[in-house]
């Protein structure tokens, strides 16, 4: 009886053991792959390794943007004795903004307890020292190194270069989440933004061994575990077309005035200088702006964030005259030697109000060359009237007036090249849609509806210099691959030639522009004793009325009522190396304010070193004698 029961029990146990083994075979043999993968996923986490951002250098290899190690303050919650006391203590040391404590605390509490949460980016040396002395009072607060973007020249060239800032929610939509997993900074403007893909590089990754709490561990049961690691690939370096010497020389001369300068190599569209002042320090953005800094940038009436070179829309003033002359020749409505009499005013049949010349007594008898040299308004009133607005439009469009030039950074404005069609579309009000002949007269001297950007102006000037050959303006001429370290030159992009049906037309207009810097011309002072040939044109544009909402300020108003000073030029005439457009807002006369800037950049570009040094010394001496140079014979 007992033995029988014991045998039955033994049988049941055997069946049980068999069932268990079947279960084990199911788990360990049949479903092995599944569980092995589960176990792998359990213990290995992937941590992105952000790549080093590509450097940005000027055309001579001067670094404009690089990466520098910086230090940030991080809090590791699980090591902190009391979070509130710690944060208050850091605020007392002036390392944190008291107003931010609540937000920071929330951030910290939302992260896992062993993660380091950055509470302050880019500590300066003084702040580092201040913390280091007291470090033992702050368990769980650490200083950690990371790479941040550094712009060694500060505000210089900031509008061309752009800047990087912390990735915003808006940025995130346009970025590949995986590629930017470990990245904190992204290009926000200028070359930094438009060449983001080249600069960013490829994110690497490393596998980390983590335990069930998600904490990083080094070994597995006392042994090193083989972990995968893929190094990040640094971003490619960019060589700008900018010549930092020209760039900073122009900036220095503008003293933070509201102004824009664009200098172009007419042979390939290389932008040698892209100046918009006042500027700002791009280093601020990598650190995170304080409220005061934000206000000083965004609420500043001088608008330092605004890139005047690409986005500034100005009446061209008389700088349009050489192009008008070209249009007249192209449509055969005038011959170079045709003489017109300038009495000081122009009358349109049926219109009572006369159009006045800037020279009240008139220029007398003028041909095309003289008209450009003296900037005779009456000559161009008549020419514009004869051409009509639509022919003016069609001709000027061949220089990309009214169109983007296609520069390789974002944000370019196209300004306005008016036409009858344009006017019909631009206004909703029927009465406003009609183009009047008087409108054309204004456009003839670069006033009225016609507006240009400094970039368009420089580009068009380069086109004249090259007898109509045009190249798309560009800021990057070569890219150095971070892997192969090969520098790859980018071929210039040729655009359609500016319209011309007789090559000799160019010479006529250029002759007129050459006369501008000669005795009797409007820019003779700035170019006195110039050892190379220069073709130029001055311009003065009536300033805009005060914008709505701007504060009324007597001193500022009188300044803001002044005309904008414009200047275009290229040199040397025979073999152009540089073309330039300068706009100084409320700068008065183009010849006195804008021309000297062009002269200095030309000297940098064209003079041999000894001669340049002489010239620079002379300039410095003159500055010392009379700080504000004002001697002009303008329009």
């Amino acid at each position: 009886m007992f033995t029988q029961r014991a045998l039955v029990a033994a049988g049941i146990i055997s069946v049980g053991i068999f069932a268990l083994i079947v279960r084990l075979i199911w788990l360990q043999v049949v479903r092995y792959d599944y569980f092995a993968e589960q176990a792998q996923g359990n213990r290995v986490r992937i941590e992105p390794l952000p790549p080093g951002r590509g450097l940005i250098l000027d055309r001579n290899g001067v670094p404009l943007a690089l990466n520098a190690p910086s230090y940030q303050l991080e809090i590791i919650r699980e090591q902190v004795t009391d979070l509130d006391t710690t944060l208050a203590g850091l605020a007392a040391l002036n390392l944190l903004d008291r107003d931010n404590i609540a937000t920071l605390k929330r951030d910290i509490l939302h992260r896992r307890s062993f993660e380091g949460v950055p509470v302050k980016l880019s500590l300066n040396e003084e702040e580092l020292a201040r913390f280091a002395v007291r470090q033992q009072d702050f368990p769980g607060v650490e200083i950690r190194p990371r790479l941040s973007r550094k712009y060694p020249l500060g505000a210089s060239g900031v509008h061309a270069l752009g800047y990087v800032g912390i990735i915003s929610e808006a940025d995130q939509k346009n970025l590949d989440g995986n590629e930017y997993a470990g990245t904190t900074l992204v290009g926000k403007a200028g070359v930094e933004k438009s060449y983001e893909l080249e600069l960013h590089g490829k994110t690497g990754y490393q596998q980390l061994l983590v335990n069930a709490q998600g904490r990083r561990v080094e070994t597995l049961g006392g042994k090193k575990y083989q972990l995968e690691r893929k190094e990040p690939t640094a971003g490619n370096d960019l060589f700008l077309t900018i010549d930092e010497r020209l760039q900073s020389a122009a900036e220095e001369m503008l003293h933070g005035e509201r102004a824009a300068v664009v200098a172009i190599d007419p042979n390939n569209g290389d932008i040698l200088a892209l100046v918009s002042t006042p500027g700002f320090d791009p280093n601020l953005f990598g650190r995170g702006l304080s409220r005061a800094q934000y206000l000083s940038l965004y609420e500043n009436p001088e608008q330092p964030m605004y890139d005047r070179a690409l986005k500034g829309v100005y009446p061209s003033g008389s700088t349009i005259k050489p192009f008008m002359a070209m249009a007249g020749l192209y449509y055969n409505v005038i011959a170079p030697e045709d003489s017109k009499f300038c009495s000081g005013s122009f009358h349109l049949p049926g219109v009572n109000r006369p159009w006045l010349d800037w020279e009240k007594k008139g220029h007398g008898s003028v041909n095309m060359v003289k008209a450009i040299k003296t900037s005779c308004d009456v000559y161009f009133y008549g020419l514009a009237n004869t051409l009509g607005i639509d022919r003016i439009h069609d001709y000027l469009a061949s220089y990309n007036f009214g169109l983007p030039t296609g520069i390789d950074i974002e944000g370019e404005k196209k300004a306005t090249l008016p036409s009858t069609t344009w006017r019909r579309q631009a206004f909703k009000d029927k009465a406003m849609q009609t183009w009047y002949p008087g409108d054309t007269i204004n456009v003839g001297i670069g006033q009225g509806f016609l507006t240009v950007t400094p970039l368009q102006l420089a580009h068009a000037t380069a086109a004249i210099a090259m007898h109509g050959k045009r190249f798309q303006p560009r800021l990057v001429h070569a890219i150095r691959d971070s892997v192969t370290t090969q520098k790859r030159e980018i071929a210039p992009v040729a655009l359609d030639d500016a319209k011309s049906n007789d090559p000799s037309n160019w010479q006529v207009v250029i002759n007129g522009m050459e006369e501008v810097v000669k005795p009797g011309g409007t820019a003779v002072v700035a170019f006195s004793g110039v050892p190379y040939t220069v073709a130029a044109k001055t311009g003065t544009a009536q300033a805009f009325s005060l914008a709505k909402g701007q504060k009324y300020n007597a001193a500022q108003l009188s300044k803001r009522m002044q005309d904008h000073a414009l200047f275009i030029a290229f040199a040397p005439v025979e073999q152009p190396k540089i073309a330039i457009a300068v706009v100084v807002e409320n700068g008065g006369h183009g010849g006195s304010t804008a021309a000297p800037i062009a002269r200095r950049l030309f000297d940098f570009m064209l003079l041999p070193p000894e001669q340049l040094a002489q010239q620079e010394a002379k300039r410095a001496a003159k500055l010392e004698k009379e700080p504000s140079t004002s001697a002009a014979s303008d329009e």
Partner: protein, 376 residues
Amino acid sequence: MELETSQTQRTLSWTARALSALQLDGPLLTGIGLIAAVSLVVLYSASSANWSVVGSQAIKFALALVVMIIIAQLPTRLLMLTAPWLYGVGLSLLLAVMIKGEITLGAQRWLNLGFVRFQPSEIMKIAVPLLCAWYVHDRPLPPSFLNIFVIALIILIPVGIIAEQPDLGTALLVGAAGAMALLLSGLQKRYIFGLFSALIPTTWIAWTYLLHDYQRRRVLTFIDPSNDPLGSGYHIIQSQIAIGSGGIFGKGYLNGSQAQLAYLPERSTDFIFAVIGEEWGLIGLITVLFLYLFVISRCLYLATSAQDTFARIIAGSLGLTFAVYVFVNTGMVTGLLPVVGVPLPLISFGGTSMVTLMAGFGILMSVSGKRRLVGH
């Protein structure tokens, strides 16, 4: 050559005589010793190479071995005399713990005697089968309905108290020990079937009234662990990952990532079977299972060869309880059974249950040893 052989033979026969003199069963002791060795090796890995855990376990083995040897010396009659007293003391302690628990308003399983802390419920693992065997040994077999009722009371009173502590695992084992004694006493088939059919309403009552919320959750999670992967399903999921990812040959000693990186909870106690599975694979687990099968078979062999009813019943029920022990733990770790807190006998880290187990083996050896005396 011949000299060496005779030397070996002499050593063997000396060992056999020593074992016999100490009332110990050689094969059973060997099986236990092998399992204990497995325990120490696996614990070193499960504790992340902590020698003090291994040392502490070794000391506990030594102590439990001494307890086993002492009990093996006791005459069967003394064991029979002790049975009601042991049961009475155990039950009183259980009640004491329960009342103390009422006062402190919490789960109360432990009794602190100053020098040692132990769970009174452990006593019942031995006391219940012992009392059952004592109760039936001089009554006519198969037991009458009245006797079955009395035995049922002997079993269910402590089981109820322990389940309320709440300690489902121990309650289950105590109940199993009593049930095995009852089965081995020659319970008629109709009663067995009757008991099984009573199981359904009992289960329902237990589910509705007796089980605590967390116990019910465990059962539900057992049915579908993915319901609650970070809560009570976590144990089951992680232990299955550990075993499954071990494959046929295992990841190698000290290389089980589940165990070493602390994904596997309770890895040196209740879930140590998963550590073996991860690091030693299917081969390791089958080896361990066969060690257990050997020990169980030896227990049953000793039981069948015992001379009197008391000896047979107590030996058999202790052996079968050991088997239940193994099944409940391995079944739980492999996901065949719900998670109840039952350690893997002789391998899991822990002192009290080991002492109880070894005391049980001591009783087994004590009652089976008498056969030889009679036989000679």
